[in-house]
C-alpha cells in the first residue's frame, strides 16, 4: 500500500532519516522498531506530510505523493506520540471536533462515535474532561478520534508508551480487530515485545533501515541460539569481563535482570563465554533479534 524509497531527512548536521526504504503492505501490521532517536517519529511525520523529506519518494498505492505525504494523510489516520487532543474539552467534544474538522457528516459521526465509545469501553466517560483521563484512556480516545474518519491506513507513533499493562492489552485487541477489518497499520514502538503483535518488522538504527522482514521469517531464519545464563560471579562483573575480551564477544551478550542473555552460533557452548552456575536455552525474542541485528549493523 505504502512504499518508501531512499527517503532522507536531516536537521542541520543530524541525519534523522538516512535513505530509508521499506514497504507497508496492505492489510498487515508493520512495526517500526528502534531505539529513541532512531528516526521512527520523523518517518511517520514525513508520511503524513508534517515533515518534508529532503530526498526520496513516498508511493501510495503505487503512485508517487507530491511534496511529501499530503496525499497519504488523506487516507491515513495519524496518532502522534504525545496525546494531541484538547485537555479542556470532554471526550465527546474532542470526538465531535475531530469529526467536524475531518469532514465527517453528523449522521455518520454519531454512528461512529457510538461504535467507538462502545468498543473502547469509554461510553461512561463521554462527558469527562480529556485532561482527567488516565494514560490508557487518553490513548484510546486518541485512537477513537483517529478512527472517526475511517482511515484505510493507521500510522501510530508509540501508541502504548506510558500506558498501563491492562490498557495495552485492550489496545492491541482493538488493533487486531482493525486488522481484521482490512485496515493497514504502521506502528512505531521502542518495545520489542509489542512488535510481536505485528506481521512484519522494520528495524531502524540511527535513521537507517537495518532489517525489513516478516516476523515469521525472522524467527525461522534467526541464525543464533539464545541462552539464559546465571553467572558464577556478580552479573555486572561477568558482563564487564566479557566486554573486555573484545567487541565481537561483547556484542553477543546482554544484561537481563540477574541473568545474562547470551547468543551463540550453532554448536557453541555459552558457558565457554561466561563461567556459569546455570545455563538454560530460551526461545529467541524479538528483542534478542533486534539486538543481534542492531549490533551487527
Amino acid at each position: 500500500m505504502l512504499k518508501l524509497e531512499r527517503v532522507s531527512k536531516s536537521y542541520g548536521a543530524l541525519r534523522a532519516v538516512d535513505g530509508a526504504s521499506f514497504d507497508v503492505p496492505e492489510g498487515e501490521v508493520t512495526v517500526l522498531a528502534g531505539a529513541d532517536g532512531a528516526g521512527k517519529s520523523t518517518l511517520l511525520r514525513m508520511l503524513v506530510g508534517l515533515v518534508r523529506p529532503d530526498e526520496g519518494r513516498i508511493l501510495l498505492d503505487g503512485r508517487e505523493t507530491e511534496g511529501g505525504g499530503a496525499r497519504v494523510a488523506s487516507v491515513a489516520g495519524y496518532m502522534p506520540e504525545r496525546f494531541s487532543l484538547y485537555l479542556d474539552l470532554s471526550v465527546e467534544e474532542n470526538l465531535n471536533f475531530f469529526a467536524d474538522v475531518h469532514g465527517v457528516g453528523r449522521k455518520r459521526r454519531e454512528e461512529m462515535k457510538r461504535r467507538l465509545l462502545e468498543r473502547t469501553g469509554m461510553e461512561p466517560f463521554r462527558r469527562r474532561r480529556a485532561g482527567a483521563l488516565s494514560g490508557g484512556m487518553k490513548q484510546k480516545l486518541a485512537l477513537s478520534a483517529m478512527l472517526l474518519a475511517s482511515p484505510r491506513l493507521l500510522l501510530l507513533d508509540e501508541p502504548t508508551t506510558g500506558v498501563d499493562p491492562l490498557s495495552r492489552i485492550e489496545f492491541y485487541d482493538i488493533i487486531r480487530e482493525l486488522k481484521a477489518e482490512g485496515r493497514t497499520v504502521l506502528m512505531a514502538t521502542p518495545y520489542l515485545a509489542e512488535a510481536e503483535k505485528g506481521d512484519r518488522v522494520v528495524f531502524l538504527k540511527q535513521g537507517r533501515v537495518i532489517l525489513e522482514e516478516t516476523i515469521a521469517r525472522l524467527r525461522k531464519n534467526f541464525p543464533a541460539r539464545v541462552f539464559r545464563v546465571l553467572p558464577r560471579e556478580n552479573v555486572f562483573e561477568a558482563l564487564r569481563r566479557v566486554e573486555e575480551r573484545g567487541k565481537e564477544e561483547g556484542r553477543r551478550i546482554h544484561l537481563h535482570g540477574r541473568y545474562l542473555r547470551v547468543m551463540v552460533g550453532e554448536g557453541e557452548d555459552p558457558a565457554r563465554l561466561v563461567p556459569a552456575l546455570s545455563v538454560e536455552e530460551e526461545k529467541p525474542t524479538l528483542e534478542d533479534m533486534y539486538l543481534f541485528y542492531e549490533r551487527r549493523a
Binding site: 506530510g49 494531541s84 474539552l89 475531530f98 474538522v101
Partner: protein, 370 residues
C-alpha cells in the same frame, strides 16, 4: 463553515477555564472602574500652609479664597515662617504661601516678592498644576485690587475651554480606557493561541485536518475579535453610565476603527504566538508590547510632549495603532466628530492593519511550513 468548528472549539476551551472567564469579562470591569478613579491628573486638596507675615487685607483675601477652593486644603495659618518650614519638610503640606510684611522690607534676605510660593517638586506634575492654580488665583485677586483702586487692567485673558469645560480628566481618560479594554484581552487570548496548540501538541492535529491554513489562522483570530468587541461595549457602558462621560458623537463610528485596530493588534499577537516557545514567554512579550503601546500612544501623556522631549521616539508613536484608536475614540466621545474629521487616523490604522496582517500571514506560512 469549517472555520466555525474551530471558533466553536476555541470558545469551548475558553469557557472551560473558569478563571480565564472571570479574567475575560469581570476583571476588565473592575479595572475600568478603578482606573477611572486612579488615573487622573486632576489635582485636588493640595495641603497648604499659609505664613501670613503681612496680616493685611490682601493676604486675608487670598487666604480666604484658598480656604474656599476645593483645590486646596489650608492646613495651617501661622505668623512664623519656621513653623511652616517644618511641616513642609515633614511632607504634611506640599505648598507654603508666604505673605511678606512690607514693613520688614530690607530686613529679610528675599526682599522682592511680597507673596512667595514654595512648592514640593517631588511630584513635579502636581506641583506644576498647583503653581498654575496659585498664579490664577493671585492674578484674580490682583485684578480686583486694581479695579478697586479705580485703575483699569491693560488686558484680560479669558480662556474658554471647549469639549471638556470642567477639565475633568476622567473625560479624557475614560475613552482611553475603552481603547485599553479592547486591547488587553483580545491580545492576550491571541498571543496564547498557537503556542498553546504547540504546547498541547495539537498543532499537528489541526494541520492534518481538512482545515486550510487560512481557516486555522482566521479561526484563531475571530474569537479574540468577539471578546474584544464585547469588552469594548462593556467598557463604553461603564464609561457612560458609571462615570457619566458624555457621548457627543455616533458610537457606531467606533466599530470600523475598532475592527481595523483589532486586525492590526491581533496580527501582531499572532506573530508573538508563533515565535515564542511557551505561554509564559507569550505573556511576557504581550505585556511588554502593551506597556509600549500605552506609553507611546498618548494614553497618559500627550504625544506633543513626547515629540518635544524625544523626537526619535516619534517614529514609534507613528506606527503605534493604539495612538490612532485612542484619538478616534476621544474625537467621537468628547468632540462628537465623525469620520470626516478623523479619516486620516482611520487611514493610518488601515495602513498599519494591512502591513501587520501581511507580515503575520507570511510569518504563519513559515510557521506551518515543513
Amino acid at each position: 463553515m469549517r472555520l466555525l468548528y474551530l471558533v466553536k472549539k476555541e470558545m469551548l476551551e475558553v469557557v472551560r477555564q473558569r478563571e480565564l472567564l472571570v479574567l475575560l469579562f469581570v476583571a476588565p470591569l473592575i479595572q475600568i472602574v478603578i482606573l477611572g478613579y486612579v488615573i487622573t491628573t486632576d489635582v485636588r486638596n493640595i495641603p497648604v500652609a499659609v505664613v501670613d507675615l503681612e496680616q493685611g487685607r490682601v493676604s486675608r483675601a487670598v487666604t480666604e479664597r484658598l480656604v474656599r477652593s476645593p483645590l486646596f486644603r489650608v492646613r495651617s495659618v501661622t505668623f512664623r515662617e519656621e513653623d511652616a518650614g517644618e511641616r513642609f519638610r515633614r511632607g504634611e503640606v506640599s505648598a507654603i504661601i508666604v505673605f511678606r510684611d512690607p514693613a520688614a522690607k530690607g530686613r529679610v534676605p528675599l526682599t522682592l516678592p511680597e507673596v512667595q510660593v514654595h512648592l514640593d517638586g517631588v511630584d513635579a506634575n502636581s506641583s506644576q498644576i498647583a503653581a498654575g492654580y496659585f498664579n490664577g488665583l493671585i492674578r484674580d485677586v490682583l485684578a480686583r485690587e486694581v479695579k478697586r483702586a479705580g485703575a483699569k487692567m491693560p488686558l484680560e485673558a479669558r480662556p474658554l475651554i471647549r469639549y471638556n469645560p470642567r477639565l475633568r480628566s476622567i473625560n479624557f481618560m475614560g475613552p482611553g480606557i475603552v481603547a485599553l479594554l479592547l486591547t488587553i484581552l483580545s491580545m492576550f487570548i491571541t498571543s496564547f493561541s498557537f503556542v498553546r496548540e504547540r504546547e498541547q501538541q495539537t498543532m499537528d492535529t489541526l494541520l492534518l485536518s481538512r482545515l486550510r491554513p487560512l481557516e486555522i489562522y482566521a479561526g484563531k483570530a475571530l474569537p479574540a475579535v468577539v471578546v474584544g468587541l464585547v469588552d469594548m461595549i462593556l467598557g463604553v457602558a461603564v464609561v457612560i453610565f458609571w462615570f457619566g462621560i458624555p457621548v457627543r458623537g455616533n458610537l457606531l463610528h467606533l466599530f470600523p476603527a475598532a475592527l481595523l485596530y483589532l486586525a492590526a493588534i491581533l496580527s501582531y499577537a499572532l506573530i508573538i504566538s508563533t515565535v515564542v516557545s511557551n505561554q509564559q514567554q507569550a505573556l511576557f512579550f504581550t505585556w511588554f508590547s502593551l506597556v509600549l503601546f500605552l506609553l507611546l500612544g498618548g494614553f497618559f501623556t500627550p504625544l506633543e510632549s513626547i515629540h518635544a522631549r524625544a523626537p526619535g521616539l516619534m517614529v514609534l508613536t507613528d506606527i503605534n495603532p493604539f495612538r490612532y484608536l485612542i484619538k478616534i475614540i476621544r474625537e467621537i466621545f468628547l468632540k462628537g466628530n465623525g469620520p470626516a474629521f478623523f479619516w486620516r487616523d482611520l487611514a493610518a490604522l488601515a495602513a498599519i492593519a494591512l502591513t501587520l496582517t501581511s507580515l503575520s500571514l507570511l510569518n504563519f506560512k513559515r510557521f506551518i511550513s515543513r
